[in-house]
Amino acid sequence: MKFETQVLIIGGGLTGAGVLRDLSLRGVSAILVERRDINAGASGANHGLLHSGGRYIVTDPASAKECIAENAILKRVASGCIEETGGLFVSLAGDDEAYCEEFLSAAVEHGLDARPLAVEEAYELEPRLAPGVQAAITVPDASINPFAATIANLAAAEACGGRVLLHTQVTSMRREGSRITAVDCLSSRTGERVTIEAEQIISAAGPWVDRLAAMAGVKIPIAYSKGSLLITNSRLVDHVINRLRPPADGDIIVPGETVTITGTTSIRVKNLDHLTTSAAEVDLLIDSASRIIPALDSSRFIRVYAGVRPLVSSGEGGSDRGLSRSFVVFDHVRDGLRNMATITGGKLTTYRLMAQQVTDLVCGRLDHDVACRTMEVPLPGSEEAQNLDARGRLARLAAPPPQGEVLCECEMVGRLQVDELVEGLRGRGHKVDLSALRLRSRLGMGSCQGGFCGFRTLGHLYSSGVLAMSKGNEVLIRFLEKRWGGIRPVLWGDQLRQEQLLEGIYCGTLNIDGDL
């Protein structure tokens, strides 16, 4: 299969999706290819935190300023994906008192809406805070659902003619002199070869940008920093909570719909494709976060996940926490390549700005003089400012629209929602399996981690003729094994009991592990 387009975007994370939407809004034809499914890299493995800028205000003011601006923009145009939780920075006994002063004066300098809070008020807002809070500051942090954000960006782009090819991996680039003339891909879904001829190419492949650049004969110096996060099975806080000190491991706690997410670590890794989280890393995260919210120490954790931050390294030495979290646009003209650009680094919060900058660059090369509109046009589902507080969002979760039989009891996903998702996936030519449904709903996100709902949903996919009978239990086994990587590091207490129940059912009752 062969496509011609003005711009090819490589990478189906939030940045790539943002670029596709930006180009589509400007009337540029574009195709996005992603080797797996949406948000397969860091876009799907982060806190879901819409930074206010507070975290970087002292140590990395450039990043902080980007966050301050984007936080305000996204609350306007992406309100459907955002819960305006507000954020608290709290210092505990032993934390440097001077940091609080530095924080507040930097906030004034850079325009961050940060206000000191009486300690009693902090406890009123967050009763689970550890005793001994020394100082507290409120900031406009929020939580953002990165899957909803990517899906909304892709849907908006598709509505303007943008095209998305998932499970399509770039295998090589044909370079002639200073241009890439064609990009060869392979669809892992159909086994088909896909060739794309594009005037311009944008690589938004997160930590994989160096591999893609190498295919074009270009070197990008990059380091990989793994960050692990933990999810509890309940919502323990209503605000994003940060430690009021220079950024360190395990000191951000974010409420996300019905759960709490805590992290992260920062560990250099070499292998991007098999990220694991050790027991020691889990313990470090829990010990660190439970200093702020002691209830985390005895909480039930349902999952661990890890993402890789692409760090564009300036040299050796120093800690990765000290490296800027800002993003980088590589204009490969300086490498003698005139039709390719790479965007990487940055944060979830700045995805729109990153997309804007690289789109500006590419539109300049295309002599396409149309201005960016993503700062003013709302995403689908965000047309009306929602501004639902925690109670409003939880009420909406608790009273879902009529959905037919419940397939996922933990997260109340119904048959009709699954049917609608299946139709959407099929209509776009995407792969339909349990993982694809999970990414687009909350199926399998709860305590059973897909053990029960995966089985039921598979049954439904067979009953409704969506899946070919020849697939047998492959789909289910692949799904269970995929979930396993994130379940395995948190198996003690109640989550181990849950695992033992599922193992009892899948191996003991169903012999799905057998080869009969």
Binding site: S278, A279, V282, D283, I286, G404, E405, V406, L407, R415, F452, F455, R456, L458, G459, H460, Y462, S463, G465, L467, M469, S470, K471, G472, N473, L476, I477, L480, E481, R483, W484, G485, I487, R488, P489, L491, W492, G493, L496, R497, Q500, L501, E503, G504, I505, Y506, C507, G508, T509, L510, N511, I512, D513, G514, D515, L516
Partner: protein
């Protein structure tokens, strides 16, 4: 012989307090009441049987490292005992295993659930996932299920609209490649139930106990059979009495009818638990469910004093012997924290693989099985609880069932066997020590 404790409301201590109402506790209580011991059986929950298929495994896979299915369970048990004497079967010994299992099988075959087995052969049960599961002793309602694979007659798997727990198409997806005569169809149960009841497992199970419903069901199924010589249905053919429905359906349809086990909660497991509990209550066993034993007082030499957290107030239960049949992590017999594993009633720490990184394998379903599944309590031949040095911890404490170490019942397909055999083994151990006392 034992010193009487002044603090107890009981006139005399029980001979045996069994903690845990899973299959282990129930089987042990049955053996103990047969041996004329006075028995109290206390469980925090209704026990783990509702989470099982109701089909009872002895040993289906050995060695687990090669996932080797064994047609003859007794040869497999003999190999296992020889190679793994620390396995619970090794503790009980081949003869003990055989006696206890065959006794239990004979009892269930005579029961209203009409269990079925072949002495020297494992059966292959068709499951809701379209897999084959080796097992040894099946409820009568699954007899034709366990025999179907041998001949593979034209068979219809029938499901119900809106019943998400059973997809007949999923069964066909699993087995259809090797069974050309297997087909799937579905009915709308709501219409057949003829009222506003929703299609839930409980409503369907109640409906199948009603002859009028069965009549309407038969009329609706007949045109769907299209030459099928056998009919598979989700395991919902009655809450308590299932064989009446099975026989009635078979008679009216003229083909064998069988149940296919579902995920939990499972009616065949509940039926079995209910049967055993009725039997025990009739035999005079005191059965208390829903309130946990919170502590054991092992001081002194007399009866053990167990505290039961009641609805309103605590009760002290005194017993000469206590059997821990509390299960593994799921049942609450073992507790795991980030720091390690312990047995909560004795506070014993349980040896586990050094780091949590080593508790589980990188794959969920791979061989040979997760190392954490082999940790547990140690026992001697009489099922006396042993401490870390292998010494009897306390003459009064016995242990049986899944809580024991050195087995992996989910991979071995040996769960029911370990429960029944070690539960019975613990009672046999008590009888051995009583015999000389009485003479």
């Amino acid at each position: 012989m034992a010193k009487k404790s002044s603090a107890t409301e009981q006139p005399s201590p029980y001979d045996l307090l069994i903690i845990g109402t899973g299959l282990t506790g129930l089987a042990a209580a049955r053996r103990a009441s047969q041996a004329k011991l006075s028995v109290a059986l206390v469980g925090t929950t209704p026990g783990s049987l509702p989470y099982t298929s109701g089909a009872l495994d002895l040993l289906g896979v050995y060695p687990t490292a090669t996932k080797h299915f064994r047609l003859n369970p007794w040869e497999a048990v003999a190999d296992l005992i020889e190679e793994s004497p620390e396995h619970p079967y090794g503790r009980v010994g081949l003869l003990g295993v055989r006696d206890a299992w065959e006794d239990f099988a004979a009892f269930l075959e005579q029961s209203p659930l009409e269990y079925y087995h072949r002495q020297d052969e494992n059966l292959l049960l068709i499951t809701a996932a379209g897999t084959l599961k080796p097992t040894h002793l099946v409820p009568g309602s699954m007899k034709e299920n366990a025999l179907a694979w041998e001949q593979r007659p034209p068979t219809l798997m029938l499901g119900f609209n809106r019943l998400v727990d059973f997809s007949p198409e999923h069964v066909v997806a699993g087995l259809g490649r090797r069974w050309s005569g297997l087909s799937a169809a579905r009915l709308d149960a709501q219409e057949l139930m003829g009222d506003q009841r929703r299609t839930t497992p409980a409503n369907l199970a109640m409906a199948f106990e009603d002859p009028a419903f069965r009549g309407r069901f038969v009329a609706a199924v007949k045109p769907l059979l299209r030459g099928a010589k056998s009919l598979g249905l989700p395991a919902l053919l009655g809450l308590v009495d299932v064989m009446t429905a099975v026989r009635d359906l078979e008679q009216q349809l003229g083909v064998p009818v069988f149940e296919v086990p579902l995920l939990s909660p499972s009616l065949p497991g509940i039926r079995l638990a209910d049967l055993l509990k009725r039997e025990l209550i009739a035999a005079g066993v005191r059965l208390v469910q829903g309130t946990p034993i919170t502590s054991l007082d092992l001081s002194g030499e007399g009866p053990v004093r167990a505290v039961r957290a009641g609805q309103d107030q605590e009760e002290i239960l005194c017993a000469r012997r206590v059997l821990l049949a509390t299960g593994r992590f799921f049942g609450g017999g073992l507790e795991a924290t980030r720091r390690g594993v312990c047995e909560p009633l004795t506070g014993m720490s349980v040896t586990s693989p050094g780091s949590r990184d080593d508790w589980h394998m990188p794959t969920f379903l791979g061989a040979p099985g997760h190392p954490i599944n082999r940790v547990g309590l140690a026992a001697d031949q009489r099922m006396r609880l042993l401490d870390e040095r292998g010494q009897v911890l306390d003459e009064r404490l016995r242990v049986a069932g899944a809580i024991l170490r050195e087995h992996d019942w989910v991979r071995e397909k040996s769960g029911a066997g370990i429960s029944v055999v070690t539960g019975s083994g613990a009672v046999a151990g008590l009888q051995k020590e009583r015999a000389p006392e009485e003479t």
